[in-house]
């Protein structure tokens, strides 16, 4: 029914045809085992419910349009009709019970299947903050640990266990193409299992209202082959490259001299703040500011120059910089691949 | 529409007592509301306790003496309270007047001891969640004693005036007594919760 209706609405609103009906953040565009089984369940339940609705509508239409013999008004109920109607209603209630019991059992088994674990699981820690995501990878030794933000890379075909931690208020981690959502609740340790069957970039978004910029708290999950994933992790473990050009060095200097370093970490420099996202490899991330802009020198400069206009209320203040400093800092950050 | 009289009500009393009184049902309904509130606050206590590693959190077990004293006073107050309810049923104004004064004193007494009960908890409300919930439990019950005390005082004053000799007022006295029973009854689980659960 949803498919049908989708098509219908697509015809009604031509704009939609351009956009394409299934997006890169859609429960109907499933690319992971959990999301796929959820999609099947959704379609099945929606289909059964559509049939139920149709049956009720047929009964309603007949009830309203039936030819009736004239009877004095108000109508006195007749025992035979009463009996027949009672039987019909009891049958309908019995059918209802069967349907909802079926749904309950299906839901139960689907839920159980979502929690299944595997041996080659990868564990990642995800923290939700107003209004960005901090991501922590562990590896086998403490040196292999690293942090990044708003972008999670995972290997294709492997279960990934996310340890979800809410640091300030409640957020909710949701990549519909890969799995259902799970809240990040302060004071509680929640987990979510995600898994991608196909390589690709999947968008996710915070689903629990968390204040002013809840609308702009997106992230990407990038699923790639095991080899690519290993390459990415080993690159991430490296500290930031030291600037080679003069402008970049000026940028680094300004970054470290200004309050930026108090909030951001750039590994390999003295900047080790934790209020804001880790910027060690910011230049290599697809988006900045939790999915707001693609990462370019221009967008970085725009962001740093006036974060409060771009994302009103977010926790990064406008730090006064001269035009040269601004240019240099954004060039420097863009170079941190 | 034409009317035909089929029923004569003129012999009915002007005021119903007990279950025939609307105020009796109203009091009952309010008791249900407040009772639900008490149950919920107790549930919050148990919920917080179930989450805590140790209970009480960072606090000694509450000192038993003042709380137990309040319990005894409240239990003792039931005797005159029940008697008074009976006098009200018998519409014995003289006894009711004495009873109302006695019950006013029984309303004041637990409040005085209660002043010592809060420090006996051994923790402040803003120290942690344990402190918050025990203070809330005790505070909630205290407001109930206070509201019933005010009610009793006003009613006592009323009974001492010319308005006193009236079946309606006797009904009010009964409702007031019923409510006091409720105040005492709700205290018992709260007492058990605050003082004895940490000792289990």
């Amino acid at each position: 029914m949803i498919r049908h209706a989708t098509r219908l609405v697509c015809v009604v609103t031509p704009a939609l045809l351009l956009a394409g009906c299934s997006g890169w953040q859609s429960a109907l565009d499933a690319h992971g085992a959990p999301a796929m089984s959820l999609k099947q369940l959704i379609i099945l339940i929606v289909a059964v419910c559509s049939v139920v609705w149709m049956l009720v509508m047929i009964a309603l239409i007949i009830a309203l349009s039936r030819n009736r013999r004239e009877r004095p008004l108000p109508i006195a109920p007749q025992p035979s009709t009463q009996r027949r109607m009672t039987i019909t209603i009891v049958a309908a209630v019995a059918a209802t019970t069967v349907v909802i019991s079926g749904f309950t059992v299906m839901s139960f088994f689907a839920t159980r299947a979502l929690g299944v674990t595997a041996n080659d699981e990868l564990t990642i820690k995800v923290r939700g903050l107003q209004w960005w995501w901090s991501v922590e990878y562990f590896g086998t030794s403490p040196e292999e640990r690293f942090e990044t933000a708003n972008e999670i890379h995972i290997p294709v075909g492997r279960n990934v266990r996310l340890r979800l931690e809410g640091l300030d208020v409640i957020h909710s981690f949701w990549v519909p193409s890969l799995a259902g959502k799970q809240d990040l609740v302060p004071g509680r340790a929640n987990e979510l299992l995600i898994r991608a069957e196909n390589p690709g970039t999947y968008r996710g978004q915070c689903a629990e209202f968390c204040g002013m910029q809840h609308a702009h708290m997106a992230f990407l999950v990038i699923a790639e082959s095991e080899a690519e994933f290993d390459r990415w992790t080993s690159a991430q473990r490296q500290p930031a490259i030291q600037p080679s050009e003069e402008e970049l060095a000026a940028g680094q200097h300004a970054f470290l001299a200004k309050p930026c370093a108090a909030c951001h970490t750039v590994r390999g420099t003295t900047a080790s703040g934790t209020t804001g996202p880790d910027l060690t490899h910011i230049g290599g991330r697809k988006y900045i500011a939790a999915g707001l802009f693609e990462t370019t020198r221009g967008s970085l400069a725009a962001w740093i120059a006036d974060p409060q206009t771009i994302k009103p209320g977010n926790n990064m203040p406008t730090v006064p910089l001269t035009p040269e400093e601004l240019r240099a800092v954004s060039a420097y950050l863009a170079s941190l691949k | 529409m034409k009317e035909r009289v089929t029923l004569d009500l003129s012999k009915l009393p002007l005021h119903g007592m007990g279950t025939a009184s609307v105020t009796w049902w109203g009091t009952l309904a309010f008791m249900l509301i407040e009772g639900t509130g008490f149950v919920l606050v107790l549930a919050v206590y148990l919920y917080l306790m179930s989450l805590a590693a140790i209970w009480p959190i960072d606090a000694p077990k509450p000192d038993l003496l003042p709380g137990t004293l309040v319990t005894l006073i409240l239990l003792a107050s039931l005797v005159p309270n029940v008697l008074m309810s009976r006098w009200a049923e018998q519409q014995d104004l003289r006894k009711i007047r004495i009873g109302m004064v006695v019950m006013s004193l029984f309303g004041v007494a637990p409040l005085i001891v209660r002043i010592f009960e809060f420090p006996a908890l051994g923790i402040s409300w803003d120290a942690n969640a344990y402190g918050s919930i025990v203070w809330t439990l005790l505070g909630l019950h205290t407001t109930h004693i206070m509201t019933d005390l005010v009610d009793t005082l006003v009613l006592a004053a009323l009974m001492l005036t010319r308005h006193g000799n009236n079946a309606r007022r006797f009904g009010d006295v009964q409702d007031n007594a019923m409510y006091w029973n409720f105040v005492v009854a709700t205290w018992l689980p709260i007492y058990g919760c605050i003082y004895w659960i940490p000792r289990l």
Binding site: I2, T13, G20, G23, S26, A35, L38, I42, C49, V56, L60, A63, L64, L73, I75, P77, M85, V93, I100, F103, F108, T111, L114, D168, I170, G180, D183, R188, E208, G211, H214, A215, G291, P312 | K2, E3, R4, L7, D8, L9, S10, A20, S21, V22, W25, A29, L32, G37, L40, V44, Y47, L48, L51, I57, W125, N128, A129, V154, N166, R168
Partner: protein
């Protein structure tokens, strides 16, 4: 003065019809003028006020909805900033739930229940007056704060820690919590009045199985209010304590818990939605009779379904918390209990279908709204069953799918019957008919506009659109459908506008209504339209469940009540045997003073805990003034 007309202790038995009416009118009247209006305790005047106020809040909430739809029509729309948007959707939700949907149902009951059970005023009429003033004050507080840019911005369920002391700066969350206190206070008061009215003031002979289904629905609803609202009182009070005096109920660092809030809120919040829905279902059961021209099929089943829904509603709250991290398989219990609600809901739907099947439908506007209700409510109910499934919900929770679900059940399931009920009871309340032509137009506009507005939201939700976002980026595939939704909302708003116009116009110049324009079977139609201040000159004596369908033009009544004091009949709980000729209080200004004192205390307590101490003194004084006997005949016994 009255003594000049008749002696004290005058009985209606002794009087001519016209003299009886004159004397009753004198005894029960509300004096003209401002003072009379402020001091009245007539349930009809208060009920009318209540209904009107609730509809004003509907219009205001609707305007907020329109603003949201304009903002969401396009990606990156800059009309409303995030701060304002968050206030707007919070205001929309809180306003619609606490200031419109719940009060409007109680308001209808305040007006109708005493008439339907055949008594002269609601039980505790002064409490009723108090309740209205408190409700008005709560609404004013919320809207004033919005005007001052101080409105709550934490969503209608105000989850902590966002609403807590650390993240909810300013007074916004306190205003939310105190608005809750106001509305719950008024709702609880009305619930108590309704329970006692229904238990003790039914006309002689109206045994339990002769109570109109709407009255049953209100009885169950009143019990839901009584059992559920304390939970939100506990929640909002502890939130204020956390914010104002530093308690730690919701602070995990000090042994508190964030999910405690959600448990408390939804333990109230889920019954809340049936507090809105059950009265609507009761309206349908009662209204369907005159339009199917047949008694509703399955009286017992309908009543049992209401009671079953009421009981079950306390065992479902966790279905709002499926992704909060409670044990997933434990959640499955709540899947089962939530889905079980489909059984009583289904029973009602099937009984209504059966009634229409065997009846002879009269397609007047109220029936159109009933039909529209069945069509849309079943969709909303079925999506409810969908989200009750834990795995299904992990994908659609907090998305527009849920927004679609609850507008289908709230508007389709509760507002449609309500609009039908307004058309249906309008002649009784105002003495004038609403225009059928405009009524049908507004029905079709609302019905079509509603479905076009809200159906696509299901798809938006599945396509990943979260709720409570003030904007979205152009590369998301949602803009086409959002534009469509926003345009459709124009039709919906036009329909509501037409409805309002119709009501206002008809109240002034509609055709005069007969006592019983729909040939309906229940007691409220046995008296004049609009009813006199005393409701019934003689209390009806009931001997069937459809007293006006007895195929005779004669109404059996009881006599023997006094006319010089406000007197009504108290009857026994089950069999409605007369027990007493109880007095009903006279008009009094004290409820207004008490409400003002309470309002001062509650608003002051947003700023200082001492308000509770000093503020209760004036409250106590006004309450004493309220209850102190004034030596009127009503005080006799």
């Amino acid at each position: 003065m009255k003594a000049n007309i008749t002696g004290p202790d005058t009985r209606d038995t002794d009087l001519e019809r016209s003299q009886l009416r004159a004397e009753l009118a004198e005894t029960w009247k509300t004096p003209r003028g401002l003072w009379g209006a402020l001091a009245t305790v007539d349930h009809k005047i208060i009920g009318r006020r209540y209904i009107l106020t609730a509809f004003v809040f509907l219009a205001l909430g609707g305007i907020l909805a329109a603003l949201m739809r304009i903002q969401l029509a396009q990606p990156e729309e800059r009309l409303i900033g995030p701060d304002r948007y968050n206030q707007i959707f919070t205001m929309h939700g809180a306003n619609m739930m606490f200031l419109f949907a719940v009060p409007v149902m109680e308001a209808m009951a305040v007006y109708l229940v005493p008439l339907m059970v055949g008594t002269r005023n609601i039980a505790f009429p002064r409490l009723n007056a108090f309740s209205y003033w408190i409700y008005l004050a709560g609404g004013a507080l919320l809207w004033l704060s919005f005007a001052l840019d101080m409105a709550p911005d934490v969503g209608w369920f105000a989850y902590v820690p966002l609403s807590g002391p650390q993240y909810g700066a300013g007074k916004r969350a306190d205003i939310w919590a105190q608005m809750i206190t106001f509305t719950e206070l008024s709702a609880l008061a009305v619930a108590v009045e309704l329970v006692v009215t229904i238990f003790k003031q039914r006309a002689p002979g109206m045994t339990l199985d002769r109570i109109p289904v709407f009255v049953w629905a209100m009885l169950v609803t009143a019990f839901l209010v009584i059992m559920a609202m304390p939970a939100i009182m506990v929640a909002s009070t502890s939130l204020i304590l956390d914010r104002l005096v530093g308690t730690h109920f919701y602070n995990p660092a000090e042994g508190g818990d964030v999910l405690l809030w959600q448990h408390l809120f939804w333990f109230f919040g889920h019954p809340e939605v049936y507090i809105i829905f059950l009265p609507a279902a009761g309206m349908v059961s009662t209204m369907i009779e005159p339009f199917a021209r047949r008694p509703a099929f399955g009286y017992l089943a309908l009543v049992m379904a209401l009671i079953a829904t009421g009981i079950l509603s306390f065992g479902l709250w966790v279905h709002h918390m499926f992704v909060a991290g409670l044990p997933r398989l434990g959640n499955s219990f709540f899947t089962a209990s939530s889905m079980a609600i489909a059984i009583p809901a289904g029973i009602q739907i099937f009984c209504w279908l059966g009634t229409l099947w065997d009846g002879k439908p009269l397609f007047a506007t109220p029936l159109l709204f009933i039909i529209g209700f069945i069509v849309t409510f079943v969709i909303g109910g079925l999506t409810g069953v969908m989200v009750a499934s834990v795995p299904f919900d992990t994908q659609v929770h907090d998305t527009y799918f849920v927004v679609a679900h609850f507008h289908y059940v709230l508007i389709g399931g509760a507002v449609f019957p309500l609009l039908g009920a307004v058309h249906y009871w309008f002649p009784k309340i105002t003495g004038r008919m609403m225009s059928e032509t405009l009524g049908k137009w507004s029905f079709w506009l609302i019905f079509i506009g509603f479905n076009l507005t809200f159906f696509p939201m299901h798809i938006l939700g599945l396509q990943g659109m979260p709720r409570r976002i003030y904007t979205y980026q152009p590369d998301m595939p949602w803009h086409g459908m959002n534009l469509f939704v926003s345009l459709s909302a124009i039709i919906l708003v036009a329909g509501f506008l037409l409805f309002f116009l119709n009501a206002i116009r008809s109240a002034r110049s509609g055709a005069a209504a007969r006592d019983n324009p729909w040939d309906a079977p229940t007691l409220e139609w046995a008296t004049a339209s609009p009813p006199p201040s005393y409701n019934f000159a003689r209390i009806p004596a009931v001997s069937s469940s459809h007293p006006l369908w007895n195929r005779s033009d004669i109404l059996a009544v009881a006599s023997g009540l006094r006319t010089d004091r406000r007197e009504l009949v108290v009857t026994s709980l089950v069999t409605a045997e007369p027990q007493a000729r109880e007095a009903s209080p006279r008009n009094s200004i004290w409820p207004l003073w008490a409400a003002i004192a309470t309002t001062v205390m509650l608003i002051w307590s947003i700023f200082s805990p001492w308000a509770v101490v000093w503020g209760s003194i004036p409250i106590a004084i006004t309450l004493i003034g309220w209850f102190w006997p004034k030596g009127t005949p009503e005080d006799e016994s």
